[in-house]
C-alpha cells in the first residue's frame, strides 16, 4: 500500500504542508473549501485554465499552496495583475485570493475599480479584522471597539462595510460568509464560477492568534463557535445592514446577484462592430480583419538610407505641436525610411503654454540610449523654450528657430542658426497651428536626415484625417522657404 494522500491532493501542494498558517486559522479552511469546490467541477472546467492570484499578507501565501497556476503579486495589486491576466488570456478563470489589508486598504482603489468595470474575476477576500502577518495591527476592517496591537483601548473608527461598498460599485455577485461556513463558501464559489463579471466573496476568517487573543477568543475553537453563534444568514439581505458590529450578529448571505455584462463581454459587444475583431486576446491569437494586406503594402520598406546617428531636440511651448513634430520626424525615419529612431518627450504639467521638448534620435544603427543630452540639431519655436533649453545648445551644432518668436542671444561658438518665420507663414497659409508643419518643411529642405517622400507619408499618417491637404500645403510653404534660404536668397 502506497503513501496515503489527502483527497484534495490533486489541488493542494501536499509537499509544502504543514503550511505557515497559525493553529485554527481560517485561511486554511477556506483554501480547503475552494479546493473542494474545484474538485467537484473538475470535469466541467479545465483546471489548467484556472489561475490563482494573490497579494501580500497571510492569505497571499494561498497561491503557493494550490496545484494551479499561481501569481504572488506585489502588495495591494492582485486585482490589477489579474485584470491583465484575464485580458491577455480570456480563457482563464482567474481567482484572486487575498486578504482584507491587501485588497481593501492598500489596494482599495483596484478593488473599487475592478468592481466598477465588472472585470471578470472571482475575488475571495479573507477578512480577519487586522493585519495578521505584521503582528495584528488595526486596519480598515477592524470592527469598532475591538482591540488590536495599535488600538489597545478599542478601535474608535468605523470599519468598511464591504458588501455595501462592492454592491454600490456594481459587482455582479457579492456574498459574505465566515470561515466556519465551509459548505456555504463552497456553494457560493460554485455559483460564482458560473457567472461572469466581478464576483466578490468575503470570508470572515478566524484569526485566533492576533485578533482573537486580544478579544477573548483565544483559540480557533472559540472563534468558530463565535462565528456560528454571532452570525445570521438571510435570504436577500440588505447590504446596508452588513456593517460588522460586535454587539449585533454579523449578517451573512448573498448581497448581490446580478447578470450585468462582464468587462470582456461589454468590450466585445462594443468593439466588434467598430473594429471588426470579434475576439480580443493579448497572446497574439487574434484574427485581424481582411484589411491586413492593404497595410502591408504601405509598410513595404524601401532601401534604408545610411546615415550617421543624429540627435534632434525640439523645444517649444505646449500646444505648438512639438511632440507631433518629433513624432513625424521619427516616423519618417523609422517607418518610411527604414532606419532606426527613438523618440522621447518631456513636458510640464500644463497642457498649453509651458515649455516642452521632444527628442528624436535617428540612426542606421541600433539606438542604445533614447535620451538626448547633447543634441546635434536643436529646433526652438518659442522664447520661453529658448530660455529653458539654451544650456543644451552645443558648440558647432545646428539650430532652427522661429524668426519672429525667438530672439537668440549668447549662442555658443560655431552654431549655425537657420531662421524661419514659421508662425507667420502658417498664418498666411490659414491657421497658426500648422507652424510646426511649416518648420518641418523648412527642416527637410535644409537637412537630409530623411527623404522627402518619407516625411510626406509620415505627415499624412500623423495628422488628423481630413486635414492632410492643408498640412501638406503648410509643409510645401515651409519647404519653399527653406529652398530659398539654401540658395542664399533669404538670410
Amino acid at each position: 500500500m502506497g503513501v496515503k494522500r489527502h483527497p484534495m491532493g490533486e489541488l493542494i501542494r501536499e509537499d509544502r504542508m504543514p503550511h505557515i498558517f497559525c493553529p485554527g486559522c481560517g485561511i486554511g479552511a477556506t483554501i480547503s473549501n475552494i479546493a473542494e469546490a474545484l474538485t467537484e467541477v473538475k470535469d466541467e472546467i479545465d483546471l489548467n485554465k484556472v489561475a490563482v492570484v494573490s497579494g501580500i499578507g497571510c492569505s497571499g501565501r494561498a497561491a503557493g499552496y494550490f496545484w494551479l497556476d499561481g501569481f504572488h503579486t506585489t502588495h495591494g495589486r492582485p486585482i490589477a495583475f489579474a485584470t491583465g491576466l484575464k485580458l491577455s488570456n480570456p480563457d482563464l478563470n482567474v481567482i484572486v485570493f487575498s486578504g482584507d489589508g491587501d485588497l481593501t486598504t492598500i489596494g482599495g482603489n483596484h478593488l473599487i475599480h475592478g468592481a466598477r468595470r465588472n472585470m471578470d474575476l472571482i475575488v475571495i477576500c479573507i477578512n480577519n479584522f487586522n493585519y495578521g502577518m505584521t503582528g495584528g495591527q488595526m486596519g480598515a476592517t477592524t470592527p469598532s471597539h475591538t482591540k488590536t496591537t495599535t488600538s489597545i483601548y478599542g478601535n474608535y473608527e468605523t470599519p468598511f462595510n464591504l458588501p455595501a461598498l462592492l454592491t454600490a460599485c456594481g459587482a455582479n455577485y457579492v456574498a459574505r460568509w465566515t470561515s466556519a461556513h465551509s459548505h456555504y463558501i463552497k456553494r457560493s464559489f460554485l455559483d460564482a464560477l458560473k457567472k461572469e463579471g466581478f464576483r466578490f466573496i468575503e470570508v470572515i476568517s478566524a484569526c485566533p492568534v492576533n485578533w482573537g487573543r486580544r478579544n477573548k477568543l483565544r483559540t480557533g475553537k472559540d472563534m468558530v463557535k463565535f462565528f456560528l453563534e454571532h452570525t445570521v444568514i438571510k435570504e436577500n439581505p440588505d447590504p446596508k445592514d452588513a456593517l460588522i458590529q460586535m454587539d449585533t450578529p454579523i449578517l451573512c448571505g448573498v448581497f448581490a446577484d446580478r447578470n450585468a455584462p462582464g468587462y470582456m463581454r461589454a468590450m466585445r459587444e462594443c468593439l466588434s462592430s467598430k473594429v471588426g475583431i470579434s475576439e480580443f486576446r493579448g497572446d497574439g491569437k487574434v484574427e485581424l480583419p481582411e484589411d491586413k494586406e492593404k497595410e502591408k503594402k504601405t509598410l513595404e520598406i524601401p532601401k534604408p538610407k545610411q546615415i550617421k546617428e543624429v540627435k534632434i531636440k525640439l523645444a517649444g511651448l505646449g500646444g505648438q505641436g512639438i511632440a507631433l513634430l518629433g513624432l513625424i520626424i521619427g516616423r519618417a525615419a523609422c517607418v518610411f525610411d527604414g532606419n532606426e529612431a527613438a523618440y522621447t518627450q518631456e513636458y510640464g504639467a500644463e497642457a498649453r503654454g509651458g515649455a516642452s521638448a521632444s527628442c528624436v534620435i535617428i540612426s542606421s544603427e541600433k539606438i542604445d540610449f533614447p535620451y538626448v543630452k547633447k543634441p546635434d540639431v536643436m529646433v526652438i519655436m518659442a522664447q520661453g523654450a529658448f530660455r529653458k533649453y539654451r544650456k543644451d545648445i552645443q558648440p558647432n551644432s545646428v539650430v532652427f528657430i522661429d524668426k519672429d518668436l525667438v530672439k537668440p542671444s549668447n549662442l555658443p561658438e560655431g552654431v549655425k542658426a537657420y531662421a524661419v518665420p514659421a508662425t507667420r507663414i502658417a498664418e498666411q497659409v490659414g491657421r497658426t497651428v500648422v507652424a510646426n508643419i511649416v518648420m518641418l518643411g523648412f527642416i527637410s529642405a535644409l537637412t537630409d536626415f530623411f527623404s522627402l517622400e518619407a516625411v510626406k507619408a509620415a505627415l499624412k499618417m500623423s495628422v488628423p484625417k481630413g486635414t492632410e491637404e492643408f498640412n501638406l500645403k503648410a509643409f510645401a510653404a515651409g519647404y519653399e522657404y527653406g529652398e530659398k534660404v539654401k540658395k542664399g536668397e533669404i538670410v
Binding site: H6, M17, G26
Partner: protein, 87 residues
Amino acid sequence: MIKKRMLLNLDKLKIPKGKPIVFAERCKGCGLCIEYCPKQVLSFSDDYNEKGYHYPVIPPEKEGECIRCGFCRQVCPDFAIYVEDEN
C-alpha cells in the same frame, strides 16, 4: 394503533462506515475536528508530533464508530485529516 412514521426502506439503508486518517505531522492541534465530530470519535493524542502539538487519534473503544460524514475534513484548516471509505 398508530404506526410510527418511519422510512419505508429503512432496513435497506446502511449506515456508512469510515475511518479517519490523520497526517499527524501536519496537525497544529486546533481541535476543530474533535469539537465538530458528531459521534465524538476523535480525541487528542497523548504524544506530540514533531512541532509539539497533540494530534487527534481514535481511541480503541471508539474504533468503527465513524459514520463518514466528513466534517473533520471540512473544518480542518491544515489538510491533516480525511475519512476513508470502509464499506
